[in-house]
Symmetry: C2
Subunit: 334 residues, 2 copies
């Protein structure tokens, strides 16, 4: 399908955005991708598409908050069939300190883009990458139409971004779909995320801090499976709809996750980790139901956690010289 | 209950805000009210509390978008038991042209206020005046926990305002309740609203334009009933909850509403109105279920439409000299 598909990825330096570029370039040898980010392209150790692009990836450094005119011009020149928005202020805990910044990026800037390009004739689909955090702390398994009860400004800003697009779908012809995936992991992930952080800290001998004893249970899905689902949703989803993306099984506690990595790398968890307190406003677990994308679009997750962790370890080994001198903490840019 | 209750009304020049001030000042002879608006106090023909205040109403001209520090200082000095936020960019059709302005007032400014005052010890309740438009075009009767599907930027901005407050309720101690009422009417209403506009135009001989033939069916509730419900919700509602406020019965088409006013004033509808096209993104009807406020807080609507329309006609007669030279169109201020 679609030899000459053109994709625009807003937030192409993000872990998920960079992997999606890699995925579509591999999946479709005729595809081309224009990546947009407010920051210069990351180092190759964080950009999987560097190995797959073959001249089919272009990059524009543009900021959704500041360069809307230039972004709209770039879109109208490139004429993408698909726009995927991965750009977001993503950190949860930090969002309490300056919530307006989270809202400006995750809601206002996004809505302003929608307001400008809704009805543009080149566009087959606008994919908004949302988050299960919009639902807040949920009991049981959450389906796609659950009520929003965000527990942090980050979660509220993502919920508001989603809602701000909806009128442009209903009344201005924006071919909108939403995706919400559980915690994504894989090679090339930022080092402040628990899996790459654990692997790197084991290799460098730094002590890992486990918040709340690592008791929080999370559901992890490999980024390749998320990309597969996202592409299926972009091509075949129903406009206006939300699609959850989640793995089989019940999730794993952070403690058990770290323990699993320790075992793979031949280290004890006592050597690796120490316990600290609980984060404010951190929801315990998201179990989201992904029956819809499975039944309607024939998607299935293909990579188990153990296999996926092996890939991360392999990636850290391959890029260790670069990674060991890379920033391991999250740095917020307003 | 509560002889010395103190209320802050943000958006005190609004129809509903000004009526709520009037209502609590009449209802509770020990109550005092601080009104806040970005505009100077309106003319007396639009301020019902001018007849009831007896020195118990104070006013501060402050803009939620620009004067947050001064608003927070005023709140901490006045120490209100109840804060009610009626301030909003309210027009639906106009919100397409500059949606960011609607979001700044209805969401960002509101969230910034919540971020500053959450946890303040004087506050018993923060009442956010929301709108049934957050639900979008609904089939059947909508209950309080329905999904948000806003069809206009105005509606999306109200939905986002509601969501932006929620984390501050969940994690920062904001004693938050929401109200959503169907179309409110009564004396002292702005002249661009259909009921006072019809009465005034009949008296001045101006021709009324009926959009879409006046076929849209709306559910109207008298402002006094809404104030009664709002006060009950402020005093006795459950934190984090939404309360709908709606009348008995099924609603009325704009055409039939205008016809009813014509009959009361002895004019034919042909003399009074002409037909024009449909508004974009205008939802046909909101039927919201108000069982919750009725069963949990013992509220009932007390004023029927015919009686309420008589009050509006009486008000236009009383203030006709002022009203006939007042602006009858909505003027958007960014």
């Amino acid at each position: 399908m679609g030899d000459e598909e053109r994709f625009v990825i807003i937030g192409s330096n993000s872990f998920s955005g960079a992997h999606f570029a890699d995925y579509v370039l591999r999946e479709n040898p005729g595809a081309s991708v224009l990546g947009i980010s407010r920051s210069p392209e990351s180092k190759g150790c964080f950009l999987p598409y560097k190995k797959s692009s073959g001249g089919r990836f272009g990059f524009r450094m543009l900021d959704l908050n500041k360069d809307l005119d230039a972004i709209v011009a770039a879109l109208r020149e490139f004429r993408p069939h698909y726009i995927l928005n991965f750009a977001a202020q993503g950190m949860v805990g930090q969002s309490w300190s300056a919530p307006e910044q989270w809202f400006n990026t995750n809601c206002i800037a996004l809505m302003n883009l929608a307001s400008r390009i809704s009805g543009d004739d080149y566009l087959r689909r606008f994919v908004q990458i949302s988050s299960p955090e919009v639902y807040g702390p949920c009991d049981g398994v959450t389906e796609e139409n659950a009520r929003f009860m965000p527990s942090t400004p980050y979660a509220a800003s993502k919920a508001c971004g989603d809602l701000s697009l909806y009128p442009f779908y209903l009344n201005r012809g924006l071919p909108l779909v939403y995706t919400r995936a559980t915690n994504v992991y894989g090679p090339y992930q930022q080092l402040y995320r628990i899996i790459p952080r654990t692997v790197l800290f084991i290799k460098t001998g730094k002590k890992l801090q486990l918040q709340g004893g690592g008791r929080a249970v999370k559901s992890y899905i490999h980024i390749r499976d998320v990309c597969d689902a996202t592409l299926k949703i972009a091509r075949g989803g129903r406009n206006g709809d939300v699609y959850h993306i989640s793995p089989d099984g019940k999730g794993i506690s952070i403690y058990d996750l770290v323990l699993l990595i320790c075992e793979k790398m031949g280290r004890s968890i006592e050597e690796t980790a120490e316990i600290i307190g609980e984060r404010l406003g951190q929801d315990a677990l998201y179990v989201i139901d992904s029956t819809k994308v499975r039944t309607e679009l024939g998607w299935r997750p293909g990579t188990g956690l153990s296999e996926g962790l092996d890939e991360v370890i392999e990636w850290v080994n391959e890029y260790f010289e670069e990674l060991k001198v890379s920033e391991t903490e999250y740095i917020h840019k307003p």
